[in-house]
């Protein structure tokens, strides 16, 4: 699975607020990877990101300059003199945070290493990434046609990108390349449509709340 093969026009996109968050590098890693994968197959959103980045540049111009303390130069020189040795500043950060150009490759590595396991009839699942704080995750789901996921709601925004197949929920039909953005507090019940398995990437923030005892069991099995 090296990319998303959109079979037609992409109809469902991230909100503009999410695109701004992506451009501002304010999204959590899981959400950032899902948006990055959507951008790779959506020229419309790449166009929107262009304007959003221009706006960011202009807003930055408009910020008042930060006033400097009278001894700022002296303190900076002291810090520069201290900053020596093998643990150069920035080296560990660079190893942890791939640059935007590398993100699809980072996602491919995660997908390649994933070992989906059954968590419920018709549902296979692999945890790709667990954020330390505030507990967001990136998951790969493979759902057999006709299978409905338990009805659930969210404590944060949930982003789902369809990689193969299709699913439908109360808001419409989602095919390859489509991104479903479900807000905090909203409830939905996705159902995989045939004939192929629906494979999707799911970025969640916080824990999902499942409705009903069987659904809660699913939550325990999938550890979501």
């Amino acid at each position: 699975m090296s990319g998303v093969q959109a079979d037609g026009a992409i109809e469902h996109h991230p909100s503009e607020a999410t695109l701004v968050g992506h451009a501002a590098r304010a999204l959590r890693p899981a959400a950032g990877l899902v948006v990055e994968a959507h951008l790779a197959c959506c020229p419309d959103c790449r166009g929107k990101i262009g304007l959003i980045e221009e706006v960011g540049g202009l807003l930055l111009e408009g910020l008042p300059p930060t006033p400097l303390a009278p001894d700022a130069l002296e303190r900076m020189m002291v810090r520069l003199n201290e900053a020596t040795g093998p643990a150069a500043p920035g080296s560990s950060l660079a190893a942890q945070e791939p640059s935007p150009a590398e993100l699809p490759a980072a996602l491919q590595r995660l997908l390649h290493a994933a070992l989906p396991r059954w968590v419920a009839p018709g549902v296979r699942h692999a945890l790709l990434l667990r954020e330390e704080s505030p507990g967001g995750t990136l998951r790969l789901l493979r759902i057999s046609p006709g299978t409905a996921l338990p009805r659930h709601d969210h404590r944060g925004v949930e982003l789902t990108l369809v990689l193969e197949g299709a699913f439908a929920d109360e808001a419409g039909r989602y095919g390859p390349g489509d991104l479903a953005e479900v807000d905090e507090g909203a409830t939905h019940q996705p159902v995989a449509l045939g004939p192929l398995d629906c494979v999707c990437l799911l970025a969640t923030q916080g824990r999902l709340r499942f409705h009903g005892p069987i659904a809660r069991l699913f939550g325990i099995l999938a550890r979501v």
Binding site: E16, L51, V55, L58
Partner: protein, 85 residues
Amino acid sequence: LEALTVRDTVPGAEETVAAAQRARSLRNALHALPEEQSAILRLSYFGGRSQTEIAHVLGLPLGTVKSRVRLALMRLREALGEDPT
């Protein structure tokens, strides 16, 4: 004739002028945004907060924060003569 030749060989001159005009239109449109929209735009770009966190900080529903970002960008696209949707 010489002046014409010179002007034709300056690479990207027209693009530079167009980019400057575009930046000016965008800057004017940014200044003309209602304060409630531009404040949320600034919070969205700077400070590394998620939309959910911005909604909590401002005591607004998440949907309101998102729709203000959308309306602000619609106005900016409109000011550039682009399809606002």
